[in-house]
Every structure is written in C-alpha cells, then in structure tokens.
Subunit: 542 residues, 2 copies
C-alpha cells in the first residue's frame, strides 16, 4: 500500500524566535538550518527578510540545503500595488525558492486591526500571491486566525483562503494563531475547508500550545486531511510555543496509526539524531533541557517506580511506548547497574579507553558519575572531563602539577578622567616537580579592555607551566557557559569551558562550585590536563 | 440546561512523586493538599500507605479537607485472601473514606510480569474491591495498561474491569500507563467500554504525556463519556509526566465547548488562584517555573511579535484566547529588537508610566533599547531594568545613592586541615546623601560554606543602605542566570537576576559586561533601585 506524503515545515528560525528571551545570531541560524536539513525537514523558514538585521543577513548568505529555504513576510498593504510594496519586495529580494505570506482571514481583524474592508483584504491576498507565483516562487499562504475567523464568519474566512488558493498558492496553511482552538474543532473545520473545494494536499496546519494541545491539534488536522505540518524544534514559539516537531516527528514515524498511512522526509537513521538536535538547540540557547520532554527528555524513559523497574528488567515494552534508541534516547533505571555498565564501556571505547567487561572499577565509576551529576556536574556536555574522571579511576591520569593556591581581585573605581573602570588581577601558585611557580596576570586585553576575572585566571594559569608550556601554547578558550543549577540542597554554579588547539581539536570541560571563580578554575584545570594527556606529555617527577 | 458533573482527582502526591528528582516531605504533602482543597479538587490521592515512611506518616495525621482523601494501593496478591493481604491492609488501615487500587488488565502483564493466570488476576480484582466496599470505602479501580491491554486482548481487558465494576467499585479508571496511546484511540476504546455496559459516570481517565498529548487524551475520554479526570499539578509524574490539571482545569472551566456541558468543583474565584498554586508547587520543589506552561506560564500571555503587540493595544482578544486574569496571570509585552513603537507605549502604560503619544522622548528610548540590546542586554527577560531605562529617560528615577567603588577578592588556599578552601570578600563604598558608607561582607553562609563573589557583593551592597535599609530588608535573590553573548565585536557576559520581596513580587534585572562581577553588580543595582522606586521611597537629598 502506498503511503501519502506529509510535508514538514519548520519555523524555529522565525516563529521560534518569538519565544521570550530567544534571539538567534546569524551564525546560530546557520547552525540550526544545517541540523534541520540533516533531519530531513522539507521546508525551512529562515526568518523575515527586512524585518531585522539578523534575518536580512541570514538571507544575504543563505545556507545550501536540500530542504526548500523559505522567506516569511506578509501580504501587501492596501493602497499600493504588490509591485510597489516595499515589505513584500524585501521578501522576494531574499531570492528563496519559496515564500510564505501571512494574511488575515478573520473579519474582525481585517476591519479593526487593519482598518480596511473585507474586499480590500481579499484583493491584497490575491494580488500578493499572484505576484509571488509570477516570480516562480512556491507560495505558502499563512491564514492567520483562520479557526477563530471561521467560527466568527465562515463565509469570509473561506473566501480569503480561496482567493489565495485560486491565485496559485501551493499551500494554504490554516493557523490557530491564538492557540485556543480545541482538537475536535480543528478537525471539524479542516474537514469543512476540504469540503469547500481546497484539497487536503494543498492544506497546512500551524498550531500553538496555549491549551497544551498543539501536537493533538496538528494531528487532528492531519486526520482531517491536511498534509503540511508547521512546527518548531523543542516547541519554541510565541507565548506557550508552537507545535513541537521534536514530538510530532517521532509520533508520525513510529506510531503505526500514522506510519502505516504516511511518509515524511525523516528516515529512521535521521530520527536517531533527534535527541542530539534537541539538546544542541538548548545548548545554543543556553537553556536547561526540559527533562520531561516527550521522546527526547532525559526523564522520558526513566522508570522510578519500583514496580515498573522490575517489569522493565523482564521486558522493556511493559512500561515503554517505544524503544528509546529510536530517537537517540536511553532508558534510565536507577536500580539496574547492569545496563549502565555496558553503556559506560561503550562510551569509554569511543574514547579509546579499553576496559574489560568485568573490571571491578566499573561500578565505582558509575557511582562517581551519579554522585557528581547529583551535585551539578553535566558530563554529557563535557566529554573531556568525563574522560578524565574515568581515566583517573583507572589510574591513567598522572599528576602533572599541583595547585597550591590562587587569588583573584576585581576592583571597580573611578580613573583619573572620573570614569568608572574595572580591573581584575589573578595570582596562581603551582608546584611543578620540585619547582614552585608564581604567576600573575591582569584581565586587560591588548586593546586595554577589561575581560574579567576568569580571563585573568586563565592567563595566570597558562603563563608559566614550565616544561609543559610548549604543549599548551596553542590552546585557547573559545566558549564559556555558566548555569546556575541545583547541587544537592544548594544552588551551585556550573561552568562549561570549550577549548581549542592549533590542530583544530575542540574539547569541553566542566567545573561546579557555589563560587563561580572556583567552578571556572576547575574547568580550566581539566582543560589543561586533558590537553597534556592527549598530547602524551610526560609528567615531571614529584 | 443542567450541566453534567465532572470529578477532578489529583494524584500529585502519589504519581507526581514519581517524577525524577521529586520527593515530598510530609509537611510539603500537607501544604499541597491544602492548596488542592482550596482549588476545589474532588479527590486528593495522598500516597501509598505502607510503601514508604513519608506516605504512612501523612495518613497517620491526615489533613482535614472538603475533598475526599484517597489512599492508593494495589489489588491483593494471588495465593492469599483479601483479608490476609498485608499490602491491602495497610491501605485500608489508613482510614480514608476512599481508596484507589491499581490492578492489571493487560493479559501479557498478568501472565508475564505477575506470572499468574488471567482468572487468578480477575479473582484478585473482584475480591479486593469487595473487601474495600465492605468496609464502606468509596473504591476506585485503576485499570493499569488498559488501552494497550484492550488493543491486545479486548475480551480480557473488559472482563477485568467488569469484575471491578460488578464488585462495587464506584469508579473504573482507564489508565494509559505507558502514555503512548493516541487521543483518537482513547476516544474509540472509551466508547467501546461504555458500549460494554459500564456507564460513563462510573469511568475515569488517567493519561501520561509520552506523546505530548496527555491533555488531549484526557479530553478525548471525556468527550467519549468518562466523568472522572485524574491528573497532577504542573503535570508532574513518571517519565514525561501525567495529564496536567493546571492545564485541564482552565480548559474545562473557560472553554465554552466544555463549560456549557460540564461543571466541576472549581469556581471562577478559585480559578484565579491557579497561577499562585502552580508557582507555589515549583517553590516547594525548588524548580524554576516553566515560562511556556499553558495558562500559568510567565510567557503564556507574552506578546513579542511587533504585529501582535499593535493589535493587542487595540483589543487584547485579537491575540489572546482567554483573559489572563481569569487564571491569575497577566499580559506581558516584552521589549526586544523586533518590537516597535506600539509595544513601547503599551509596556509603559502597563507600568503606569504616563507618556503622551507624541512625547519626543519616545523614539530616543527605542534607540537606546536597540543600542543596548545590540550590546548584549535582553530586556524581554528583564522587565524591571527596562522600566528603569524608560523612567530614567523620562527623568523619573531619582539618584538614591552613588557607588564610589567596590572590590571583590576570591582566594583559594589550603586551610589548617590541608584542605583547599575558598573565601570571597567584597567591599562596597557608597555615598548616600552626604554620608559615605563602607560595607564589607564575606561569601560564607550561616553553615560556613563559601557562596562565591557575587553573593559577597550582594551582601555588601545590601548591608547598610542607611535610610533605605528597611525597604530592602525583605528582598532576596531567587535566581541568577549567566550567558556569554556577543556584544558588538567582543564576547560579553549577560547576567539576569530575579529578586523577590516579602509581598511576593518578583522582578528581573540585567547587567552586561565582559567582567562577570561587573555585570552582576549592575543587575544587583537595578534590582535595589527598582524596589526603592516601586515602594515610593523618597531619595535623600545630595
């Protein structure tokens, strides 16, 4: 039996950016577009060219994607032609193969928000779509407030979308802009649209999570016949967020009710990268990944109840609706150390650390990881620190040097021009072999700007490592992430440092402490130690 | 038209406690039970007496509630009578007016996980329910894995629940234990159960969020006829969580599709406390509230898009599915570089800052926001700093005090026990009126733990604010977020600080600098200034 094609349309880079606190840089947009493309998304909406500098810059140097890159904008305004509308021109000038124009379909919004007549609005939709298709763009029409509009005035709502359809729009996307429509209503109204003469394979669905049902609303539209799904990674988006593609994709690919009827561009292999993509997005946004996220959350396959855990040991399917490996996730069973150990050996093997299956030190390493993760460490984002932890337990990390003490001072005061200026200074005292080394650095960069206490500390630590100096000279700190997290009963600071060397290697280390300077220093030390170890440096005898 | 009664059954204290990282104390259980009772919940499941000391202690001194307190347990085991089953005895000995027993209804689980025959299992269910009802307990039967069981062997699944029903169980609760069933399947199977002879007003529904559809699945069962809803506050629960009552209740009470047909025990007045209850639970659990939570999330009514904000200013219903005040929430129009003039005017109006529409200072404020956001500030996450920025431009922020200088020192060295220990010390020098104030604090908390340099600085700043001290004494720093971001050409640190006072007000401020201590200090200063301003403190003359 042939399956129908469902098209996935991602709007993380546009509607996802409406999330409070989210503002992507152009480089981050490129990074996310590449992930979406690898996942197998059909359309990537990159932003609204002309609306802000970042979006314009993104389209000025667009990524090369298999997915159809789409520029977002709105239908032309009244009182000017489509050719002379500068907002529409900016969208078309982005030069993408596809454009998505939002337009009003709710009569009240036309007359009250826009302040134009219903016929003027219909004309704006028609003329805009004709203008885009005339330039050979695949045109999506986002029918704003469609469901609320249909409830208020079904004739006008249908008239508006038929204008777009008849003008040649490839897709008419029914939007539940305010997010308050229920799945059963979405189903009924989508069916009514199809009955009015727009076939389901020309219809898209765009839902928001204001009643916690964005996923269900989207699936209700698919069941009614819609064949394009709009959503975002991790359900980012305005207010409560958009329908989450991170949740919808595994449901469509893995649940027989959908998998038997539909196919998408996401292969089973690509689906296994879903967790990685979800975490990477959180990483870019410096957000704590939500543990309870369906499919990809750290708790999604965690079995806390004792009754569940014992049945899971007999057959995982007893308490799991899918195999977690299908989305790149893993089962967490607090009681079962057996699964944990084979997992650990796999990770270590990836790092070229060979350990026998029955090595008596394996359980200790697992316990250590658990204790430290409870205290706030995050080893999934700091592989180099994880490797050091395991190698230390296996006796494979020599003591290259000893830190005797350090001191960092931050001062802010008026300079001679009566301006407030800051300066940080760090002193680090090490013992290398038999030699004591005192180093001092300040936080001033070559342009005379203060770069802060961690910078001063990093410079002092790396200033004179004696026999090791040549090895670490090409090291630089390329990223620094800080998060306040819960360590036991107290809030602690977790610092993750990304380092890079002249060979282009990049590694991440972690430090945790209530004191941000201490946490940073711990991560810096691990970064240096990992580099010395990986470069095969021989430790000075102590 | 008379409305049908829907019964709300809360299992936050039992299934909610299966959330990874959640472990309530007895006192916390009492606190939560009181909130649930005030909200108007019908049944409060307090835990599993006998399963752990906390739950036993809770039932030993049960709270006095209007709601029916319910003890959870499981059906008797095979090979003994209901009278002689100690697990069942512990449940009944809790002395609650109502009990809820979980039992198996999926044939595979009976034969493989329990290892007994299907008939033995049916007998266990029947005997257990008879035993409970004989002791005048209102009995709920949680039909574990019911939907998966029905799909595998509908005859046996129905036989198991009919045994409970015929034995006198008041409620048969259909559980989607693994959380993988789709809403349409829930609907069809619930209808089949009713067709088999168990009326809808004897049926409950218990769903999990493993496909992100726990709310929709619950509502699908209600639409099919079920009349009891099980869920948890904030959707706590095993793996991805249970159906969230925090989302379901406002949907049932406010959405006409449900409100016209059903009534619950939650009054419109009680509904206004929903946000407070949701936040209080996070507070008890020391969790950061999820901003995107439907109805009660801090972002649930945040309008970031410029187009939305201008329509909202004309009529909030244009982009809001309900009035946020109905659930105790409030509208937010965050400032971001996507926002336009209309956002600014609305935000100022919400902050009770009266500015004429054509005030010549308005464009300057917008430019200032844009410049500062380009430099790394994020005003949509720091409303209080935004308010200060605007009020400063309008000449409405007096200079309460002047910071002359500060110094922070972090030292790490060996103590007399040869352990590495850290200590931070901060000196802050202020001028208040004509008086110069020097304050010094260390980072040690009352338990002797170092809390780091920002803590020391915050303490020194708030140590002696002279005439302002009484106003800031109830302030505390509740959250601290740090992000490395790009400010112009250089990486800078953005610090966001959330503060709270004795009136329960919570406000966020932002600081940006390449130096994390400076950035923190800027955010701390804004936090103090906002509090002084909002509390109407008169500045000392300088």
């Amino acid at each position: 039996m042939t399956r129908e094609r469902l098209y996935l349309y991602d709007t993380t880079l546009r509607d996802g950016q409406q999330t409070q606190g989210v503002q992507f840089s152009t480089a981050e947009k490129h990074q996310i577009a590449a992930m979406l493309d690898q996942l197998g998304i059909d359309y990537i909406e990159g932003g609204w060219p002309g609306a802000n500098p970042t979006d314009s810059e993104f389209f000025a140097s667009p990524p090369a994607t298999k997915a159809t890159l789409t520029a977002f904008g709105m239908t032309k305004r009244a009182g000017r032609s489509a050719e002379n509308d500068d907002v529409l021109a900016a969208v078309l000038n982005a030069g993408t193969p596809s454009v998505c124009l939002v337009g009003k379909t709710h009569d009240y919004h036309v007359t009250h928000a826009l302040g134009i007549t219903l016929d003027e609005n219909t004309d704006n939709i028609r003329a805009s779509v004709i203008h885009c298709t005339a330039q050979n763009r695949e045109t999506h029409f986002d029918a704003e407030h469609f469901f609320d509009g249909y409830k208020a005035n079904p004739d006008y709502a249908l008239q508006a979308i038929h204008a777009a359809h008849d003008a040649g729009a490839r897709w008419i996307v029914l939007c539940d802009t305010n997010g308050g429509t229920l799945p059963s209503e979405i189903h009924t109204i989508t069916q009514a649209v199809i009955a009015s003469g727009i076939p389901g394979d020309r219809l898209g669905i765009h839902c928001h999570d204001d009643t916690g049902q964005a996923v269900a609303c989207t699936l209700a539209a698919v069941e009614a016949g819609a064949r394009q799904i709009q959503g975002t990674l991790n359900g980012l988006g305005e207010r409560c967020g958009n329908a989450s593609l991170t949740t919808l994709i595994p449901t469509l690919v893995l649940k027989p009710a959908y998998a038997e009827r539909f196919e998408t561009g996401v292969t089973p292999e690509a689906l296994k990268t879903l967790l990685r993509i979800s975490r990477k997005l959180d990483d870019i946004l410096n957000r704590v990944p939500l543990r309870s996220l369906p499919y990809v959350g750290a708790s999604a396959f965690a079995h806390k109840a004792g009754l569940h855990a014992s049945a899971i040991a007999k057959d995982p399917a007893t308490y799991e609706h899918i195999d977690p490996a299908q989305v790149g996730n893993a089962r967490i069973v607090p009681m079962s150390n057996q699964a944990g150990q084979s997992n650990l050996r796999m990770v270590l093997a990836d790092m070229e650390v060979a350990v026998a299956r029955d090595d008596p030190r394996l359980p200790g390493i697992l316990t250590d990881i658990k204790t430290r993760e409870d205290a706030g460490y995050a080893y999934d984002s700091a592989q180099a620190s994880f490797e050091l932890l395991a190698r230390r337990a296996l006796g494979q990390v020599p003591r290259f040097f000893e830190v005797k003490r350090y001191r960092v001072t931050v001062e802010r005061r008026k300079n001679k021009y009566d301006q407030m200026v800051s300066l940080s200074e760090a002193v680090v005292v090490l013992k290398i072999g038999d030699e004591k080394k005192l180093s001092v650095s300040e936080s001033m960069d070559t342009e005379g700007h203060d770069r802060g206490p961690v910078n001063a500390l990093a410079k002092a630590l790396a200033k004179d490592l004696g026999p090791y100096q040549a090895t670490i000279d090409d090291m630089k700190l390329v990223d620094f992430k800080v998060r306040i997290t819960q360590g036991g009963t107290e809030a602690v600071t977790r610092v993750i440092i990304d380092s890079e060397d002249g060979q282009g290697r990049r590694w991440s280390t972690v430090g945790v402490s209530p004191n941000i300077v201490d946490a940073s220093f711990e991560a810096l030390l691990d970064a240096v130690t990992w580099k010395l170890l990986r470069d095969g440096v021989r430790p000075c005898p102590t």
